[in-house]
Symmetry: C2
Subunit: 205 residues, 2 copies
């Protein structure tokens, strides 16, 4: 997990992604932008890296600039994937909020570029720039609303509908993520996903 501090075009592009994202919630002065950049948030992470293990405590939040990270539980030796986070998505594990050992793993599904921020550091920044408190509140509220809608959709639909729904809303995931991870994300076994996809193909013809 290397820190990224160079000033290549790529690095500049990533910074713009970050600032464009923040601009959706609050406007920043140059001073504030520089304060942010001085925090050494940018990290490049190799595929397969485990960012958080079950049982660990953590103060780290993640924001994906490029790539994909995944959350999963291990239940009776089996991985249960519950979330994928890709470009412009953020994850603060419940373990950070509640200061309890994590119930799940976070790993890096592709070579990725992440923002990694520390809860203590955030408190500092929020003290200096109260704006950030407001931004975090808005962002969290928005996430909560989105999350609730996702949950509702999951509850009110069958595995097949869930797959078709994903095909609409996150077609990229179906391409970039292994089938067995997708299956458990949809709440079914890989064999069932395989069969279900066959069924859908038949219907189309």
């Amino acid at each position: 997990m290397a820190s990224v501090t160079n000033n290549s075009d790529y690095s500049k592009a990533m910074k713009n992604i970050l600032f464009d994202f923040i601009a959706k919630y609050i406007s920043l002065t140059e001073e504030e932008k520089n304060a942010l950049l001085s925090l050494d948030l940018f990290h490049s992470v190799k595929k397969g890296t485990v960012l958080l293990k079950e049982g660990q405590k953590s103060k780290e939040s993640y924001f994906v600039l490029k790539g994909c990270i995944r959350t999963y539980y291990v239940v009776e030796g089996e991985e249960k994937t519950t979330g994928f986070y890709t470009e412009m998505e953020a994850l603060t594990p419940p373990a950070v909020i509640n200061q309890t050992p994590s119930e799940y793993y976070i790993s890096c599904n592709e070579d990725s570029l992440l923002l990694i921020s520390n809860a203590d550091m955030e408190v500092e920044v929020n003290k200096k720039f109260p704006k950030f408190d407001t931004m975090c509140r808005k962002f969290t509220e928005e996430l909560l609303a989105k999350q609730r809608i996702d949950f509702d959709e999951f509850k009110t639909s069958s595995p097949e509908q869930r797959y078709l729904n994903l095909l609409q809303k996150r077609p990229d995931l179906i391409q970039r993520v292994p089938q067995h991870q997708l299956a458990s994300y949809l709440g079914i076994k890989p064999q069932s996903l395989s069969r279900l996809r066959g069924r859908i193909l038949e219907k189309k013809n």
Copy 2:
């Protein structure tokens, strides 16, 4: 939906529930408490009252002091219950966050005492007492974490496990809520819930 302004013992008890709840996040001065009470937040709502309809815009958030409210979608004429909110639980519909027409209904499942707050009003209060911004952020973060864990549990378990899980964590719901609402909350049909319960009883003997 009557406004509640009297000073009976019951009314005092409800105010204490509110202040005890807030005390978990921030501490309030008497002045701040009085400012809150002056906002006419307390409302008593009769069972069956529909608080929000599909398609409506809204700025109202709800906090349950006593009773139970329920969120549900109507899909092809059928109710799909996705959430129950009881004592000490809060609900801000996604429609309020995103300022879009609501996708679901909210109705009152029992005669209830609610706090009903308005988004515009909140902005005012937060301006006067910046503390509230911090409280809202913490509360929302906590909700998000809880919600994510609930979602994860739902995804990684079967309907039977979900029912047993609910029996552990919210035994009150199983008592106070009609079976057909519970069933769709568990993502199954009422007949399946009935059968599933029979199966569990057999196993016990």
